[in-house]
């Protein structure tokens, strides 16, 4: 059977309109759920960087659990610029790190979340973001109130190699970050150095204050994490230095 051109035109037009309608309807209907998932995930990472929300595997309703923990521990948040001044009137949660990193250093604004733990200590949580091997990597870092010692780190990625670079999300990679210092003894920003060479590489290099082992087979991703942390901490450096000297 051979159809006329008109038939083909009408057929394809109708098909495209129907498909467009289905897809726009689905996107609109599912958007609230997707946004909610993203928000919960953001809150989860902020909590986990301060080693909170540890019970998530046992929580019946994880979304509710995260919300409750978040309201309980994250007591305040504010926004700074790269010179270290506080910016008023901007919600820290609304900051899109991807957008900020595309701006020039002077125009960038950055979020800081304040977390009050049960033992009365205060932790400061920052957001970091950078490029991995296949796509973006990002995370949150929590600092003690000396603005030097890392309290906890959580990392995530979009498309790193499963089993290799993707392992940056695992505890075995992130837990050695704890207790590391980001400023060296003379007060210069050193951030974190990542050493290739398997387990104990950082120790062998003699860099106990700032060194962390890379993942074997995931060196490029590990190095990207190092670069991301160095770059992002440079933006926060002024604020941290001000606070340190106070």
């Amino acid at each position: 059977m051979k159809q006329s051109n008109t038939y083909i035109f009408v057929y394809s037009s109708v098909m495209v309109i129907v498909v467009a309608a289905i897809l726009s309807f689905a996107t609109m209907a599912l958007k609230p759920y997707q946004d909610k998932n993203k928000e919960i995930e953001k809150k989860k990472y902020i909590l986990q960087s301060a080693n909170l929300a540890a019970d998530i595997a046992n929580a019946k309703n994880t979304d509710k659990y995260i919300e409750e923990e978040f309201d309980k521990y994250i007591t305040n948040s504010f926004v700074i610029d790269t010179k270290g001044n506080k910016k008023e009137g901007i919600d820290a949660y609304s900051i899109n790190m991807k957008l900020e990193l595309s701006k020039s250093v002077e125009e960038r604004i950055l979020p800081i979340y304040i977390c009050s733990l049960d033992d009365g200590s205060t932790k400061y949580i920052i957001a970091v973001r950078g490029k991995g091997l296949w796509g973006p990597v990002w995370g949150n870092m929590a600092f003690n109130d000396d603005f030097n010692t890392i309290y906890g780190v959580v990392l995530d990625h979009k498309a790193e190699t499963p089993g290799l670079g993707a392992e940056i999300t695992q505890d075995f990679f992130t837990s050695p970050f704890k207790e590391k210092k980001i400023f060296n003894t003379s007060g210069k920003l050193e951030a974190i150095n990542i050493y290739k060479g398997g387990k104990g590489a950082a120790k062998n290099a003699g860099d106990l204050d700032h060194g962390v082992d890379a993942i074997s087979g995931g060196t490029i991703t590990s190095k990207s994490v190092e670069k991301m942390i160095k770059d992002c901490l440079r933006d926060y450096e002024n604020y941290f230095k001000n606070k340190k000297s106070n």
Partner: protein, 212 residues
């Protein structure tokens, strides 16, 4: 009812699992078999997603088969695939966020899975919706079985876990000096595992042995 599940129809369901397996016999859809078989969970979710797309897509194409203009049939098939894949991706993002993050781009890449296009063109264009549905389920099951077998061995030997459960550690094999094989995580090993599966299957299934 009897007619719906007649032996001929049941063959549509069971044939692709062994005798006419899309991966090991037709050698279609190999690319995704390499990409997402490092761990079991993504392999299973991928199987379910492909099953949804292939079964529904086959039914849609079979229902429309007499109206589809022959000259643009490939484009029509592509539009149907793309629509379903986007829907699956959006639904995963809304309700199974963690899994959708793991699969990331691979859900989108279902569009390029040759099995789907192949079944639309070879089967759905010439058959009624019900047989097309069975054919879709059967083919994606055949695809999924291979995926899961490959993922099982790659996760077990490469990471020492099964569905994230540290089996190798629990049986204490590391104490004897055993080390996980990092090569299993890399894509080439998926190809070799698929090759071994084909070898075993051909050795056991006499129908697949070519006479020359």
């Amino acid at each position: 009812m009897n007619e719906l599940f007649s032996p001929k129809n049941m063959k549509l369901l069971t044939n692709p699992i062994n005798d006419d397996n899309p991966i090991t016999v037709q050698v279609l859809g190999i690319c995704s078999a390499l990409a997402i078989t490092v761990k079991l969970e993504p392999a299973v979710v991928m199987t379910i997603s492909v099953m949804a797309v292939l079964a529904i897509g086959n039914v849609v194409i079979a229902a429309l088969r007499n109206t589809i203009p022959n000259r643009i049939r490939i484009i029509v098939q592509l539009v149907v695939i793309a629509t379903l894949v986007i829907l699956v991706d959006q639904i995963l993002k809304a309700f199974l966020y963690d899994v959708s993050k793991q699969l990331s781009v691979f859900v989108g890449l279902i569009i390029t899975n040759c099995i789907i296009m192949g079944r639309f063109e070879a089967f759905a264009m010439g058959n009624k919706p019900w047989p097309a549905f069975l054919d879709g389920v059967g083919n994606s099951a055949g695809y999924g079985i291979i995926l899961i077998i490959v993922a099982f061995f790659r996760e077990l030997l490469g990471s020492g876990t099964i569905w994230y459960y540290p089996v190798m550690e629990k049986i204490g094999i590391y104490k004897t000096g055993y080390v996980d094989n990092g090569l299993m995580i890399l894509p080439p090993m998926a190809l070799i595992v698929v090759g071994i599966i084909i070898w075993v299957q051909r050795g056991r299934n006499t129908k697949l042995i070519e006479s020359n």
